[in-house]
């Protein structure tokens, strides 16, 4: 028991590894309240306004495959902290090992010594600097090759180069606020800034109309010094803004309909240079950013400066009505409900296992139930938060199908547990919950993209997302749950053989069948609704598209199972085998068809899912095979029971035990003739 608890606590500690509090006296370490203020900074990216915390999370995920990177001193930090440190202290953060290299061959190919690193390891930007030009060249060459023709090394090279460039750009994103440009003494452009010998980008943008006017005035003159001073000023400002383009954090000031795009400092400079005078609010924003970089080594003042900056951006965004539930999104990223939920599902499963070892421990069983219940509540809370943030029904992306499938499968399993009270459903609920969340986590890391993206035109309909998508996803959930229940039945029947608990097995088979029926309802209704939606947006109900076919396959499998059971062609074992097979059909429809890369629904980058999917197929088919073995064993048992009933007394005992253990299905037609044959063999 101790070891189980220890594992559970270790898991809890792992999940709750929150960003460590700042160490006192380290001036290069932003305080945790500074980081919290920074997390809120609204930016516009991928078509929507979001907190910088989300941008940090997914940028980091795609660069390092993790959301809690280790800095050069081996200290863990959060995604937002990493981003802030990188922007404020690029000279230090360049040593943080955050660039994931899946296969160091990509680096040896450009002549880097990789002995002191593992094959799959995280490298720092500084370590890659010597080979970066070469790496970028190769990445450029790889880009010219069709996506499906690239070798693994080329793919790696592309990925590393992209991540390194992102790190480089983020490191330079505050250059516009950090550096001052010298003014050429005694020139007329210097006279625009009396008493200054150097100016910042904000100054240039503020006085841009005057500078531009001066430039026009001097256009005809042959005073090279004067003209050169202006050209140099523009060029330097442009250079400093060049890498600020990665973050659009400046809301357009007047709420004009055609000004949907937020600005970067580079956009402001360009607009100012081409004649538009920058608004006072924007200049104030740029100055606030200058203040942030100026205060970077003074934690208290930095916090103040950053608060000011974020508050300014927030008020501009709010005036445009674009701030929305950004606070909720920050909370969502900060709380990490899914991590807690995963841990609780695992604890619940561990407790279930414990309850098996000590069947009388009612306390343990109850604790398992509570853990699973809380885990499910947290998962549902996370889903509800996502719905509120996006203003959409629960499922609109592939990632969200995973969350929703997990939640609904666990919920159905718990409901079945309430009805049947067999404990096995509780254990399976925990298993489904933890497994589903691991899948979600893995997919998120693999994809490395915002999991709350804007939707393309055809998906922009809450009605169909709420009906068709929800229904079909519930069908997936129930189909997979039925597969797990059915597999449990088959595996238990195989392992325990004659010693199996008849009553329990029957109950398990019954709940499997019930869940199959549930899956059937939602799969059929969801599939037809999908057709109606297709008819509504494309004018055809059915087009034999792979995703449509996948849904049809689920329906057909479930319908065939239900009919076979009603016809008496299969009984408990057969239903469970069919349900187990049905799981692979669901997996094919859910993920498999997307891997085919054809049709209207190949919307996800899912090639990395390949292995996981095939593992699941093979596992489930093995269960089906095992089911076949159990079936054969039962037939053997029946035949030997029949032939033995006329022979010795000992065999009679054995056969009666076999009857007890429900080795004999209630009726087996054609058994007598064949059983004689097999008995003689």
């Amino acid at each position: 028991m101790n070891s189980v608890l220890r594992i559970a606590f270790a898991l809890l500690a792992w999940v709750s590894a929150l960003p460590a509090a700042a160490r006192a006296g380290d001036s290069t370490q932003p305080t945790s309240s500074t980081i919290q203020a920074f997390e809120r900074l609204p930016i516009q990216e991928g078509g929507r306004v979001k907190p910088v915390a989300s941008f940090a999370r997914f940028t980091l995920l795609s660069a390092s495959g993790s959301t809690s990177p280790v800095d050069a001193d081996g200290r863990r930090c959060g995604a937002a902290e990493w981003l802030l440190r990188l922007a404020l202290f690029p000279e230090l953060a360049k040593d943080d090992p955050v660039l994931l290299v899946e296969d160091s061959q990509a680096l040896t190919a450009v002549g880097l010594v990789t002995h002191d690193h593992k094959k799959r390891d995280r490298w720092s930007y500084a370590e890659l600097t010597p080979v970066l030009p070469d790496l970028l060249d190769r990445a450029h060459a790889a880009q010219g090759i069709a996506a499906d023709q690239r070798t693994p090394i080329q793919l790696q090279t592309l990925r590393i180069a992209e991540s390194a460039l992102t790190v480089l750009r983020i490191g330079r994103t505050l250059d516009f606020a950090r550096h001052r440009m010298p003014l050429l003494d005694g020139t007329r452009v210097a006279a625009l800034f009396p008493g200054r010998d150097a100016v910042g980008v904000a100054d240039v943008i503020e006085r841009a109309p005057e500078i531009a006017a001066l430039e026009r005035e001097l256009a005809g003159s042959d005073d090279g010094r004067e003209r050169g001073a202006i050209t140099a000023l523009w060029r330097n400002a442009t250079e400093l803004c060049a890498d600020a383009q990665i973050l659009a954090w400046i809301p357009p000031v007047r709420p004009v309909a055609d000004e949907a795009d937020w600005k970067t400092p580079a956009d402001l400079l360009l607009a100012a240079r081409s004649g538009g005078s920058a608004s006072a609010e924007h200049v104030a924003l740029l100055r606030a950013a200058e203040e942030v970089t100026a205060r970077r080594t003074d934690p208290a003042k930095l916090e103040q400066a950053l608060e000011t900056l974020v508050a300014r951006v927030e008020s501009l965004a709010a005036a445009r009505g674009e701030l929305g539930p950004i606070g909720l999104e920050v909370a969502y990223q900060r709380l990490g409900l899914l991590g807690w939920s995963t841990a609780l599902f695992l604890i619940g499963f561990a407790l279930c296992a414990l309850a098996w070892l000590r069947p009388r421990g009612r306390f343990v069983r109850r604790a398992a139930g509570i853990a699973a219940g809380i885990a499910l509540v947290l998962l549902c809370a996370a889903i509800v938060m996502r719905c509120t943030i996006r203003g959409r029904p629960p499922v609109s992306t592939l990632y969200e199908t995973v969350l929703f499938v997990t939640a609904s499968a666990a919920l159905v399993a718990l409901v079945v547990e309430r009805i049947q009270r067999q404990r096995i459903h509780l254990a399976l609920a925990c298993l489904v919950g933890a497994g589903g969340l691991f899948l979600a986590n893995g997919y998120e890391a693999l994809d490395g993209k915002d999991t709350m993206p804007s939707l393309v035109a055809v998906l922009d309909t809450n009605f169909w997302l709420a009906t068709h998508v929800t229904a079909i996803t519930l069908g997936y959930a129930a189909g997979l749950l039925a597969a797990i229940l059915g597999s449990a039945y088959v595996v238990i029947a195989f392992l325990r053989g004659a010693r199996v608990d008849r009553e329990r097995q029957r109950s398990l088979a019954r709940s499997t069948y019930g869940v199959v029926c549930f899956a059937l309802c939602f799969a059929v209704v969801g599939t037809i609704l999908g057709g109606i939606w297709a008819n509504e947006s494309w004018g055809r109900f059915w087009g034999w598209d792979p995703k449509e076919n996948g849904a049809l396959l689920i329906c057909l499998t479930m319908i065939a199972t239900v009919h076979a059971r009603r016809a008496g062609a299969v009984r408990d074992l057969g239903t469970c085998i069919a349900a187990a097979f049905g799981g692979t059909v669901v997996a094919f429809s859910w993920w498999g068809v997307n891997l085919l890369g054809v049709g209207l629904h190949s919307y996800g980058f899912t090639s990395g899912i390949h292995r996981a999917l095939w593992t699941y197929y093979v596992a489930q088919w093995s269960v089906v095979g095992l089911g076949g073995v159990v079936w054969l064993m039962r037939r053997r048992a029946v035949s030997s029971a029949r032939s033995a009933s006329t022979s010795s007394a000992a065999d009679v005992r054995a056969s009666s035990r076999a009857e007890e253990g429900n080795l004999v299905p209630p009726a087996l037609p054609r058994a007598p003739t064949r059983s004689v044959k097999s008995a003689t063999r």
């Binding site: 991928g46 078509g47 009805i419 019930g514 947006s537 065939a560 009919h563 016809a567 049709g599």
Partner: protein, 364 residues
């Protein structure tokens, strides 16, 4: 019911094979081979396995549904839900049949400001003879291209009408062809050369060779028409001018459709489309906005936003918008079927579940 299981499994197998096959061949071919056939040979490595086509399997399932699901089903309160569900499935099949036999599909492309009172098929073609009257009016006689499939020199297909002073003998009709110039003896001659049919059905360009026989004993003229040619074949018979052309089959729209404005809006700072919208005028007055998921329904037709262009247009340039037009008498039947099926299933399974829960309680 066992037969139903076998058929369902067969249909499942076909669906699965037909899905995997789409990786290698076009959707159109797969659809023809697996889903609209009665028998087929599935290539399995070096072997070819004969399989019943989905058409056959589904027909058998329909018969099975009627016999097993209605006729032979024991009718009681117990099976009410099952019966209702089967009725819903049958409704779906009826909808499919109606759509198959009575639907019209096509598209119409309009530039901003342009109007149309017809739409054209994607892949059906027709030969049209145009009578250009001196008063400026045009009278058209159209014959579906499919009706000419067997035309040959030995057995030409005649196109004639009372108002036409000539008979058009179609001597050759090719469903996909290209014109070739054959030079010889100082003169050059244009021939139509048959080309294998394209996987993409809309890419097939038909052509035909014909002779015009003047009914008043005039001379015979030979002509060619081809789907992609820029100008029709023109001739004059007794002071009247006529044109012969091959074009995508046209159907009248029961209302005039004018495109006022097309808008493609992207999500800010991304190239991801947020919406495609066309403002259209119906009969020149009623303004309707057609967008993805929001088609226009009028007079039994449904008009969908299908495509747009030119995709590389400069900002402010005149755009065109393409609408898919569908006439489907069974348009709303699937929704009815869906509701019926949902009711049947929910009724049946809820009944079973509550009964099970009750028995479980009494046992405990």
């Amino acid at each position: 019911m066992r037969l139903a299981c076998v058929l369902l499994v067969l249909l499942g197998l076909l669906t699965w094979l037909g899905t995997l096959e789409q990786v290698h061949s076009s959707l159109y071919d797969v659809q023809r081979k697996y889903f609209e056939s009665f028998v087929l040979m599935h290539d399995f490595g070096p072997f070819a396995i004969p399989l019943p086509g989905a058409n056959l399997v589904m027909s058998a399932l329909a018969v099975n549904l009627v016999l097993g699901g209605f006729v032979r089903l024991r009718k009681s309160r117990e099976t009410a839900g099952i019966l209702v569900t089967h009725v819903g499935i049958a409704l779906l099949l009826v909808a499919a049949l109606m759509k198959h036999h009575a639907s019209q599909e096509g598209r119409v492309t309009l530039s901003e400001g342009q109007s149309s009172d017809w739409f054209e098929s994607d892949y059906r073609w027709e030969i049209v003879v145009r009578d250009l009257r001196p008063d400026g009016s045009v009278h058209e006689h159209a014959v579906p291209f499919d009706a000419l499939a067997n035309a040959a020199d030995s057995a030409p297909v005649e196109i004639s009408a009372e108002s036409l002073p000539f008979v058009l003998d179609v001597r050759e009709a090719l469903s996909n062809c290209r014109p070739d110039v054959v030079r010889g003896g100082g003169s050059s001659e244009v021939h139509l050369t048959a080309v294998p049919r394209d996987q993409e059905i809309a890419r097939n360009i038909p052509g035909a060779r014909f002779t015009l026989r003047d009914l008043r004993g005039g001379n015979e003229v030979t002509g060619l028409v081809w789907g992609a040619q820029s100008a029709p074949f023109t001739t004059a018979v007794a002071d009247a001018r006529f044109e012969v052309d091959v074009r995508r089959e046209r159907h009248p729209l029961p209302f005039g459709l004018t495109l006022a404005d097309f808008r493609k809006v992207d999500h800010p700072r991304s190239s991801m489309p947020r919406s495609f919208e066309s403002d259209v005028l119906v009969d020149g007055e009623r303004k309707v906005t057609i967008s993805m998921n929001e088609p226009l329904r009028a007079d039994g037709l449904v008009v969908y936003q299908a495509s747009w262009g030119p995709q590389d247009a400069a900002p402010g340039a005149r755009l065109f918008s393409t609408f898919a037009v569908v006439r489907n008498p069974a348009d709303s039947l699937p929704l009815v079927a869906c509701i019926v099926i949902a009711l049947g299933l929910v009724f049946h399974f809820t009944r079973k579940l509550t009964r099970h829960v009750r028995s479980q309680r009494s046992a405990a």
